[in-house]
């Protein structure tokens, strides 16, 4: 079934599904790292719900993207903050939409410039297929078919509620 605005799933329900999958796997060295921007919103919610001791990390992968030559530097780069040593930690990377896998490649390269984690797993609210790299998510809210000329975007309202919108993809490639 091709996705339309009417059949978009509820982001809050997908978040609950992610939480259900992650909760039993949490150990004392588990740390969450959200990828800006949507991944950070999800990671904030997961972090609070899981009651993790280790502070939440955030990544802006702009300095590690492989399309810098084509697109240049994003004009809205924000600092990455990892407020703990990643050495020997079990990291869970959190993103909103998993597509080509290139963002996750960039995120992993950046993480290794902070140290040597014991493991990295990946949580994504939506897996839309279309991978261009050998990357898979261990925790998935939903798997969806999305037309190649469309993008799914996560939005957050002022009261913190998450929702999904479908947009025309104005750029050549997505994530």
């Amino acid at each position: 079934m091709i996705l339309t605005a009417q059949t978009l799933p509820d982001a809050e329900a997908l978040l609950a599904e992610l939480l259900r999958q992650i909760a039993p796997t949490v150990g004392k060295n588990t740390a969450l790292i959200g990828i800006r921007t949507g991944g950070v919103w999800i990671a904030e919610r997961l972090h609070k719900a899981l009651g993790l001791n280790i502070a939440l990390g955030t990544l802006d992968v702009s300095f590690y993207r492989d399309d810098f030559e084509q697109r240049g530097l994003s004009s809205q780069v924000r600092p990455s903050t990892i407020p703990f040593s990643v050495d020997e930690q079990d990291l869970i990377l959190v993103d909103d939409v998993l597509y080509t896998g290139r963002t996750i490649r960039a995120a992993m390269n950046e993480l290794f410039d902070y140290g040597r984690p014991a493991s990295i797993r990946l949580a994504t609210l939506i897996d839309r297929g279309g991978r261009e790299l050998p990357i898979a998510a261990q925790y998935v809210g939903a798997t969806l078919d999305v037309a190649p000329n469309r993008n799914i975007e996560l939005q957050r309202t002022d009261d913190g509620r998450l929702s999904l919108v479908l947009r025309e993809d104005t750029k050549a490639a997505g994530h």
Partner: protein
């Protein structure tokens, strides 16, 4: 410098802003003057992210991997060259330092021949320091569009990355330019640092910029830039939020413009007593290298209001931001 009249630039490139490409994006950084505020904000915002890179164990990102950055220093300056070198290396570029003051120019090679030779080696970026104003502009107009040029100081004209790191530092401590009083003290006449800072501050909306110094060291046209001129430190420093001390060049100390370094210190050297005229939370900047006891007292340079060393740290981040924005455009 070489021979500006022998080149064949068309009129269009002379009139259009040579720093911007067709999309209005920054492709060379030659002067602060003439840049839109949006580009200054973009550089300052991007530099924030690079500050945190410098605090990591691995202080490197792969943005400029495989790029060749040439430090073209026609005028010696170890410190400025080093900061550009570190910035380029933290972006993973390959850096080649050419101290041309002591090499081919002495053999009589024309400036543009030097540039052409390096371009033939597939250079991606030139960082240019030259004793003559306009040298970086001259090179930027000559090179092919895939090469980016950064002015690292040209004569008395501008030193744009220094101006940017000054405003980055001011923003870091003061957050907002819209209510600031900034005083620039000393040899404004010969200072490209002062000129770049004045342009940056006024583009970013700083409402009150003061220049303080003896008549012989303040250029006449400065009031045209909206700068308030003072010859007395006690008056000029009253209630300012930021004090930028300029370096007094050694060659000026003996020259006809000044009686003596001692006399200069007495009138314009920043001492704790003079600094007390500024706001209690005022910060003190200096582009370095400092002449302790000439333009600044040691107790101020090392004091709690001094942000001279943070300027150095931020300078790396600002140069990384400029290089990566240029390379991406």
């Amino acid at each position: 410098m070489g021979d500006p009249d022998s080149s064949d630039e068309n009129n269009e490139s002379m009139t259009a802003n040579p720093q911007l490409n067709r999309n209005g994006e920054l492709t060379h950084l030659l002067s602060i003057e003439g840049l839109p505020a949006s580009i200054l904000w973009q550089i300052l915002d991007t530099a924030r992210s690079f500050v945190s890179i410098g605090e990591r164990e691995v202080k490197k990102v792969p943005l400029l991997r495989g790029k060749s950055v040439f430090n073209l220093f026609f005028e010696a300056s170890t410190r400025t060259r080093t900061t550009f070198e570190i910035a380029a290396k933290r972006l993973s570029a390959d850096v080649i330092n050419l101290n041309i003051a002591t090499s081919s120019q002495n053999k009589g090679e024309r400036l543009l021949d030097t540039v052409d030779n390096l371009a033939a080696m597939n250079a991606d970026m030139f960082i240019v320091r030259h004793a003559q104003s306009g040298a970086a502009h001259f090179i930027a107009r000559h090179v092919s569009p895939n090469i980016h040029v950064i002015n690292a100081g040209d004569g008395r004209h501008e030193h744009p990355t220094q101006g940017l790191l000054d405003v980055f530092t001011i923003r870091h401590y003061k957050h907002d330019f819209s209510k600031l009083r900034v005083a620039i003290v000393g040899d404004v006449l010969h200072s490209r640092v002062a000129r770049s800072q004045i342009h940056a501050l006024s583009i970013l909306g700083c409402p009150e910029i003061r220049a303080i110094g003896p008549r012989t060291l303040l250029p006449r046209e400065i009031q045209g830039l909206g700068v308030h001129v003072y010859h007395d430190m006690h008056e000029g420093l009253k209630d300012v939020d930021v004090v930028t001390m300029l370096r007094l060049q050694n060659e000026r100390m003996q020259g006809p413009l000044l009686p003596s370094p001692q006399e200069f210190f007495k009138n314009y050297g920043l001492t704790p007593e003079k600094l007390a005229r500024a706001r209690p939370d005022a910060i003190v900047l200096h582009p370095g290298p400092m002449n302790r006891g000439v333009e600044i007292d040691s107790s101020v340079a090392d004091g709690t209001q001094s942000v001279i060393l943070p300027q150095v740290t931020f300078g790396i981040a600002v140069r990384m931001a400029v290089m990566s924005i240029l390379a991406g455009n």
